[in-house]
């Protein structure tokens, strides 16, 4: 109890520090500074704070005039382990629309402060056999309903929440990497060294897995922090083709940001399936096959940086190369 209170006050303190910092940088309280009376004006505290206005002027205002900025702080470890009530998140990826634009990858990397070589979202070039068609395959974590990674974790660092999301608590993770051998989809990545990307100074939350820690495991979090605020995951909003549909199985609705459809209808009409169903892990990510493809598969090579292109080189079928 005592501990809880202490944690809470610490969190609030951090929150205040964060908002004050953000406000002074972005100039959220510009309105008050401009002299318009604030509706919720509190008593003047007498303490002056220096802030930067949107025009770039440094002004001194009373502390009470600062309003908390609209920055949601990610929830703590305990809450993150619970999950959102009465939710069952589901994703459907339309392979017919994917042209390896890689915007999902970039948005994910940026949103989670990941170094370039540490991808949670991967786009692979797959071809099941010699005479079948090649296709682009965006691959997040499948957030399986029978997650082997969770079963094998010796310390409960990775867990499945009641809304279906599988997360990693990097404060608990001992880095044994058993989950990585357990996952048949290679969804997990390890922090082999201290991250090259500067980590934000926030309290750790498994919902973002930020800040990262050397020697622990990370993976796609289905943007659990965004979901908590009623927003879509970063990869969904970033995709210019509307490839990724995200939604709730209980509501039976998924959206790619532009259209909202019934999940069951989408799966039925488009013959949705799950990748490597036979492994019995019950993924919550579904795929829609590449029927009536919107782009030729080669268009996925357009504008790729060389080192990204080289990833696929070995896997490009000779038939494609000739063209």
């Amino acid at each position: 109890m005592e501990d809880d209170r202490k944690n809470k006050s610490r969190r609030e303190f951090l929150k205040f520090g964060l908002t004050a910092g953000a406000a002074s940088l972005v100039g959220i309280s510009g309105a008050s500074v401009a002299g318009k009376p604030d509706r919720n004006e509190k008593k003047k505290s007498g303490r002056k704070v220096k802030v930067l206005t949107p025009e770039g002027k440094l002004v001194e205002v009373d502390e009470s005039q600062l309003r908390p900025a609209e920055i949601e702080e990610p929830v703590g470890i305990e809450e993150a382990r619970e999950g959102l009530p009465n939710r069952k998140f589901v994703m459907a990826i339309d392979l017919a629309k994917c042209k390896n634009a890689r915007k999902c990858v970039d948005a994910c990397q940026e949103g989670h402060y990941l170094p370039r070589d540490h991808e949670w979202m991967k786009v692979q070039l797959l071809q099941d056999s010699e005479y079948t068609h090649p296709y682009w395959f965006p691959k997040p974590c499948f957030h399986c309903d029978q997650p082997l990674c969770v079963s094998v974790c010796p310390v409960g660092a990775t867990f499945k929440r009641n809304d279906g999301i599988v997360l990693v608590d990097n404060q608990r993770c001992i880095g044994c990497k058993f989950c990585m051998t357990g996952c048949p989809y290679s969804a997990r990545v390890f922090h082999w060294k201290e991250s090259e990307v500067e980590q934000p100074d926030v309290e750790y939350s498994p919902e973002t897995n930020v800040p990262s820690q050397e020697g622990t495991v990370g993976k796609c979090v289905f943007c659990a922090d965004k979901l908590r605020n009623g927003e879509l995951p970063r990869c969904v909003t970033a995709c210019p083709m509307g490839v990724i549909y995200f939604g709730d199985l209980i509501e039976d609705a998924v959206t790619n940001g532009t259209e909202t459809v019934r999940f069951s209808e989408l799966i039925e009409e488009r013959a949705g399936y799950r990748y490597l169903e036979e492994l019995g892990t019950h993924p919550t990510v579904y795929y829609l096959p590449t029927v009536n493809r919107m782009f030729p598969v080669e268009s996925g090579f357009d504008g790729l940086e060389e080192d990204i292109y080289n990833r696929y080189e070995k896997f490009i079928h000779p038939r494609l190369k000739k063209k």
């Binding site: 094998v152 990497k177 051998t181 060294k193 020697g215 490597l276 990833r311």
Partner: protein, 441 residues
């Protein structure tokens, strides 16, 4: 040397080894110590720079550390199964080799788990295994099994030491420092050789021998299940439990032969450890390698014949990238010991020892080609431009720690051989059990 040897003869024999250390001993010990220090330096670098200094990457997340872990755990079988069953079956020839086998067990059991620690990204959180354990995880099974095994084997070893400690305590002519005499006295636990004490020791040894066998089987099965429970091609095999157990006995027996040869030469034990012992342990090695070969064959045959896509990719890899290792581990390593012991003309002490060296090294290679190729063939192809992400090759740090493990094994064995006679004096001076007394009364 079957029958009873008088205690005095034996003690006289071992006295120089217990009393002083030769230059050769110190030199070898220093070499081992230097290797150990290099390993520690490597470990410090790994802790300060992160696991990026190893050859492990996101696909091959486990490397030679895990290979060493299962390898050392396997060596511990020498004592558990070999000495345990020889004790229970009252094989009269066991007496000169039983202590070595028991020492192998405890020492390799102590070293093995360290390789797991090296493999763990957050060594500072290792205690989470105990404060946040999840019983669903095979690693937790392992923690429980290994600690039980360690305690069990230690008790078993100690039981076989008590009588010798008492003998050393009562041996007035022994010229060793006072603290050591005192230590012998404490460790002998007031054993005087009264009929009740003798009976108690014998009974406890019998019970522990049986228990140690059972625990050892559990430990190695659990170890195999760490691989078996995953869905990875090559690992997801129902025979992994018994296959690993057999492989462990195989390496343990091999190591016992190697140590028999070394101590026979260095401590001049030619009249205690004779060709007969080499042939007997050699026959054990022959039987075990036949079984082990059978398991290996059976495992790969079913994978190859049925050829599920991932299994055939894996077998292709084994026969291309890992071809030499595969041949060494699964053909040479299994057939050579069988041929050497099987053909009478080849059955010499040196040949058997060579066979044993081949079997032990082949087993290490076998563990390597169980762990690495599977991790290099995930279900989704590795699409990466960085070669170290696609193919695993151990760095000097991993090798340094590997050799440090071997060095520590040697050091502990050398220290143990200075502290107690490497051949059990009490067992050797014990009169032969009569026929009626065998196994179960």
């Amino acid at each position: 040397m079957e029958g009873q040897v008088s205690r005095r003869t034996l003690l006289e024999e071992f006295r120089p080894e217990l009393e002083k250390t030769s230059f050769r001993w110190i030199l070898l010990f220093s070499v081992c110590f230097i290797i150990f220090v290099i390993g520690i330096y490597g470990l410090i670098r790994q802790i300060s720079h992160g696991h990026v200094v190893t050859g492990m990457r996101d696909n091959v997340v486990w490397g030679v550390y895990i290979v060493n872990f299962i390898f050392f755990m396997g060596l511990s079988y020498a004592g558990a199964l070999v000495s345990g069953s020889l004790h229970l079956f009252r094989s009269s020839w066991r007496k000169p080799v039983i202590r070595m086998a028991e020492l192998i067990t405890v020492i390799s059991l102590v070293i093995g788990p360290f390789f797991i620690f090296f493999c763990i990204g957050r060594l500072d959180r290792i205690h989470y295994l105990f404060i946040h354990p999840r019983i669903q995880s095979p690693i937790t099974w392992d923690v429980i099994a290994i600690t039980t095994d360690l305690v069990g084997c230690f008790i078993y070893l100690y039981l076989s030491f008590i009588e010798d400690f008492a003998i050393l305590r009562d041996y007035q002519d022994l010229n060793v420092p006072k603290w050591r005499k005192k230590l012998y006295k404490i460790l002998a636990l007031g054993y005087r050789g009264t009929p009740e004490q003798k009976k108690a020791i014998k009974l406890s040894k019998d019970i522990m021998a049986a228990m140690v066998i059972a625990i050892a089987i559990i430990v190695y099965s659990v170890l195999a299940w760490i691989f078996g429970v995953t869905l990875q091609p090559g690992w997801h095999s129902t025979i992994f439990g018994p296959y690993f157990v057999i492989a462990a006995v195989f390496s343990g027996t091999g190591l016992l032969i190697i140590l028999m040869w070394i101590f026979r030469k260095v401590y001049h034990l030619e009249h205690y450890i004779t060709k007969r012992h080499f042939v007997n342990v050699g026959v054990l090695l022959l039987i075990v390698s036949a079984f082990y070969g059978y398991f290996t064959f059976s495992d790969y045959l079913t994978k190859w014949y049925g050829s599920v896509k991932m299994d055939s990719i894996l077998i292709d890899k084994l026969f291309t990238d890992f071809f030499e290792l595969f041949i060494y581990a699964n053909y040479i390593g299994i057939l050579i010991p069988i041929i050497i012991v099987g053909i009478k003309r080849l059955r010499t002490i040196t040949n058997i020892t060579i066979g044993a060296i081949i079997s032990v090294t082949a087993l290490w290679v076998n563990r390597y080609i169980i762990v690495i190729p599977t991790l290099e063939t995930p279900f989704l192809p590795i699409q990466d431009t960085r070669p170290e992400w696609t193919y695993y090759s151990p760095t000097w740090i991993e090798w340094a720690l590997t050799f440090a493990g071997v060095a520590v094994f040697c050091m502990l064995f050398m220290l143990a051989s200075k502290f107690v006679p490497i051949i059990s004096v009490s067992e050797m001076s014990e009169p032969e059990e009569s026929e009626e007394e065998r196994i179960l009364e």
